[in-house]
């Protein structure tokens, strides 16, 4: 199995999300320990020492984000839990919200204590139904048990939590758009500077952490940073929730220790590719991360160029060939030209048309671009229309280069990361499957019959 379990290490039952069972598992002891035995700076220090990284996609060190806030500077600070999990392929936060909502609430209380926060917010994705009901129920239970409100555990520390529901916009998962949405405005991302830890929600210093990131905190406080570092690798300690979907036998949410091989995870833990097919590609961390081919994931088995004939056209710069198997670790994936992203893994079986895959992805980005800044507003639609045209059989030879140009014109020119992400996704697929596009354009039809589904599988 894929290593130690820090978040999912309990049996999920019909009542395992309730306060009683959470407490029976040792819940809220870390909070008590922090409130009664530690100073706010010590909590932050422990998190910094643990090397915990953000799980929302950017892998920013949590301790560094927290250290910007001075809990006792007399300013109002805010904490927001980002539960607007919208990255396609990602549904790990949903698991936490549905099965361990108190884990999030305890983490928020600990973080609020460390950051001097009186009012904290959970911004939860609007489409989440069970997750919202479970979270709202947990908030009520926690208030009933005196875990929120004034003078928690007699420590003098007071904190309230507000659950805010989104309205279905992907971009509201971006931190600054999220707080703009909480403020009641249209969810437009903000320009930096200023950073949100300087001027965030209601123009006050604000820390925004992903649900999974926060879910690690009670364990770290309960067991200490040193114990946490025994999990995972030196550079990426701890575990990661990976949500697997696509052409895979056992999709779902898995807790994987950093350093675990990706190929072994797919083939053993997830039961392999659906219908016993060969693996074609994997999108490792939500569609905004660059796609990886089977030979990049398991070069030790398949060799550099493996079975993917499309590697013929792979530019020299696209990735450094390596013979080590790819493992769940930021550095390993970065070396392969991708990233762990938000842990939303999409498995793609042999026989899938990558032009159609890109079309689906671009339809999403086009639909979800907020329309605030020029390159993304115009570029997403442009990319989408070009790929739509290719799929309809009216592709032009210059289209592939045009897709590259538009993607590059979105790289680093936009207010938030959506434009960049769409560009990465497009460039990632074009780099590795360019010949499929050229085939589609030249013949007016897909090399793989335009399949997205894994047909003929049991």
């Amino acid at each position: 199995m894929s290593g130690g379990k820090l978040i999912t290490g309990f049996a999920v039952t019909a009542t395992s999300h309730t306060l009683g069972e959470y407490r029976a598992r040792g819940g809220y002891q870390a909070l008590e320990r922090a409130l009664l035995g530690m100073k706010p700076e010590e909590v932050t220090g422990e998190i910094t020492a643990s090397g915990l990284q953000g799980r929302g996609g950017a892998a920013f060190p949590v301790g560094r984000k927290w250290s910007v806030i001075r809990p006792d500077d007399g300013e109002t600070h805010y904490l927001c839990a980002n539960a607007d999990e919208g990255e396609p392929g990602t549904f790990k936060d949903r698991w936490v919200l549905e099965n361990a909502p108190h884990l999030l609430l305890e983490a928020m209380l600990i973080a609020s204590y460390a950051l001097g926060v009186r009012h904290s917010f959970v911004y939860i994705r609007g489409e989440f139904d069970l997750a919202y009901r479970r979270l709202a129920g947990a908030v009520e239970e926690a208030y009933g048990a005196g875990l929120f409100g004034k003078d928690i555990f007699g420590s003098g520390f007071s904190c309230d939590v507000f659950v805010v529901r989104g309205a279905g916009s992907y971009v509201c998962g971006e931190a600054s758009a999220l707080i703009t949405s909480i403020e009641g405005k249209k969810g437009y991302p903000r320009n930096r500077p200023p950073r949100l830890t300087v001027r965030g929600l209601y123009q006050k210093p604000t820390v925004i952490n992903n649900v999974e990131t926060l879910a690690n905190i009670p364990w770290i406080i309960a067991h200490g940073a040193q114990a946490y570092r025994t999990f995972g690798t030196t550079k990426s300690p701890g575990t990661r929730l990976v949500s697997v979907s696509g052409h895979v036998t056992r999709p779902g949410v898995y807790e994987v220790e950093h350093g675990y091989p990706v190929g072994r995870f797919i083939h053993e833990d997830c039961g392999g590719v659906l219908g016993g097919r060969a693996l074609k590609a994997v999108i490792p961390g939500g569609i905004s991360t660059k796609v990886l081919t089977a030979s990049e994931i398991e070069p030790h088995r398949l060799g550099h160029f493996g079975d993917c004939e499309d590697r013929r056209v792979l530019p020299q710069s696209a990735g450094i060939p390596h013979l080590e198997p790819l493992v769940f670790e930021g550095e390993s994936l970065q070396a392969a030209g991708s990233s762990l992203g938000s842990g939303g893994m999409i498995v793609i079986a042999e026989g899938t048309c990558m032009v159609r895959v890109l079309q689906v992805m671009l339809r999403f980005y086009h639909h979800e671009s907020c329309g605030q800044c020029t390159p993304c507003r115009e570029g997403m639609g442009w990319l989408h229309r070009i790929v739509d045209r290719i799929v309809s059989g009216r592709g032009r030879p210059e289209d592939v280069d045009r897709l590259y140009e538009i993607s590059r014109a979105n790289d680093g020119t936009t207010i938030c990361g959506l434009g960049d992400a769409a560009g990465y996704a497009t460039v990632g697929i074009l780099d590795k499957f360019r010949c499929e596009f050229e085939y589609f354009i030249a013949h007016g039809r897909s090399r793989y019959d335009g399949c997205l589904e894994c047909l003929g599988s049991s």
């Binding site: 916009s169 249209k186 320009n191 500077p193 086009h366 639909h367 979800e368 671009s369 907020c370 329309g371 605030q372 800044c373 020029t374 390159p375 993304c376 507003r377 115009e378 570029g379 997403m380 639609g381 442009w382 229309r385 070009i386 045209r389 032009r396 045009r402 140009e405 014109a409 680093g412 020119t413 936009t414 207010i415």
Partner: protein
């Protein structure tokens, strides 16, 4: 004062400035669409990118100046960036400059030639959106031309505070729309969004397809609509492009009124009343001098008035607070010693008109009350017994409130029923036919210049007063 380098030149920037502000203040131009000096930074058009040596490119409008930073506003990378942004901005823009009223003063048009100059590389059909969509009775929007810079939206949120405009939908389906409760209709500053629009998306239905801006000329003027005295530009047909066929009146018509930026008075804005100066100045004009309603030559009427003045022992004058500083002083010089003068309010707020707010609009709907009161005091008109002549200058006076059987000399520019009841009626020029100054309620003096030539049959009030005071003889 952080010292920065722009294209290698040292520049003393001010603390808290952005690179864009510092560059513009020192004569380095950086293109921008969404940025506006009087609005918040939105940073959405992405055209103002600059290169800071050793760093990635970023937008200048949101980049604080830092000591010693070396900014390049025209490096190869910056030029490439701008070109790409122009390709994006024109991607779904119809580029219908040939039928767009903004052509000739359009930022997008200028930047296209300056920073791109190439046809679109796109072969995809353009996104279609609503055209001539009514935001209010005064403002229409062509959503295809709109580049979503959000200046208009920010204006209604930050300046006029009606919060009447917003952006609906996402991505390239985004549309600027007015709130459904009609707040934009009631926004007395709504027309400013037309000037703010860097492209031809927002326009006034009353001006649509009427004028090409290169046939127009802007004359600096002052809005007489209230005591604020906003400085404006009155746009009218250029004399060298005067129409000789069609309707010649178009040569003397006000095409439009735009604000003339003036930090001391109105900043970059004016209210909608100021846009409608044509409604004031293009009312039917009085062009005929009259004696008791009978048409006479102007000279004859002036002689008659002069005789009446000479024979009067207790004349009272009601002085117009629409008179310019020069006219008021001429009156004071010529007649001040002989007549008892009171300041007359030519206009009071019309029904439904916004009376006063904290942005520009003042309750006193006359331009020069301050100067008039400085000369003639602020006592209300009083007609003591023995008043034997009334000189009424300007409009807005109900003659039935005047003492009966007292001769009246009336000076007015507009065709009004009272004119015929005066013993002597003298037609005078309007503001657009002469130069002068107004003193606003804060004491700020602003100048206006003539847009059109005065007709021969009317007189400038300034010269009339001198003629009225001189002994009987040849008329002016």
């Amino acid at each position: 004062m952080p010292r920065i380098f722009i294209n290698g030149h040292p520049v003393e920037a001010e603390k808290g400035q952005t690179v864009l502000q510092a560059a513009l203040a020192h004569g380095f131009f950086i293109p921008y669409f969404c940025w506006h000096p009087a609005l918040s930074v939105s940073g959405n058009c992405r055209i103002c990118a600059v290169e800071v040596e050793g760093e990635d490119l970023d937008i200048a409008c949101n980049m604080p100046v830092r000591e010693g930073m070396r900014v390049l506003t025209d490096s190869e990378a910056v030029q490439a960036w701008r070109k790409r942004m122009m390709q994006f901005i024109t991607l779904n823009h119809p580029v219908d400059c040939g039928i767009c009223d903004k052509a000739g003063e359009c930022t997008l048009q200028d930047y296209h030639y300056e920073y791109n100059g190439e046809p679109s590389v796109s072969r995809e059909p353009k996104v279609h959106a609503t055209k001539f969509f009514r935001l209010s009775a005064r403002v229409l929007i062509d959503n295809e031309r709109c580049i979503l810079c959000s200046r208009c939206v920010r204006f209604t949120h930050e300046v006029s505070r009606s919060r009447a405009l917003g952006i609906q939908n996402r991505a390239d389906s985004s549309l600027v729309r007015a709130s459904e409760d009609g707040r934009f209709e009631d926004d007395p500053y709504s027309d400013n969004v037309i000037d703010l629009c860097p492209v031809g998306a927002l326009f006034s239905p009353s001006l649509l397809y009427r004028h090409r801006v290169w046939y127009l000329q802007a004359t600096p003027s002052v809005c007489p609509g209230c005591a604020r005295g906003c400085t404006v530009r009155i746009w009218h047909r250029r004399p060298d492009w005067a129409l000789h066929a069609l309707d010649g009146r178009q040569n003397e018509a006000i095409a439009r009124v735009t604000p003339r930026e003036n930090p001391a008075v109105n900043g970059p804005w004016i209210c909608n009343k100021g846009r409608d100066l044509a409604r004031i100045f293009e009312r039917p004009r009085a062009t005929q001098a009259m004696l008791k309603g009978e048409p006479v030559a102007l000279g004859t009427a002036v002689d008659a008035a002069r005789r009446l003045l000479e024979g009067a022992r207790r004349p009272v004058a009601l002085v117009s607070n629409w008179g310019s500083n020069e006219e008021l002083e001429a009156f004071q010089r010529a007649l001040g010693g002989r007549v008892r003068a009171f300041v007359k309010e030519d206009f009071s707020p019309a029904p439904g008109e916004p009376v006063e707010d904290d942005l520009l609009i003042r309750a006193d709907k006359n331009p020069n009350t301050a100067a008039a009161r400085a000369l003639f005091g602020d006592a209300p008109p009083a007609f003591e017994d023995g008043t034997d002549l009334l000189l009424v200058w300007g409009e807005g006076l109900d003659f039935s409130r005047l003492p009966t059987r007292v001769p009246i000399i009336c000076l007015n520019a507009y065709l009004q029923p009272e004119n015929g009841h005066a013993d002597v009626f003298l037609p005078v020029s309007v503001q657009t036919e002469r130069a002068g100054h107004y003193t606003n309620f804060q004491g700020v003096v602003s100048a206006f210049e003539p847009c059109f030539a005065k007709r021969d049959s009317v007189a400038h009030a300034e010269s009339l007063f001198a003629a009225l005071a001189s002994p009987p003889g040849p008329s002016p």
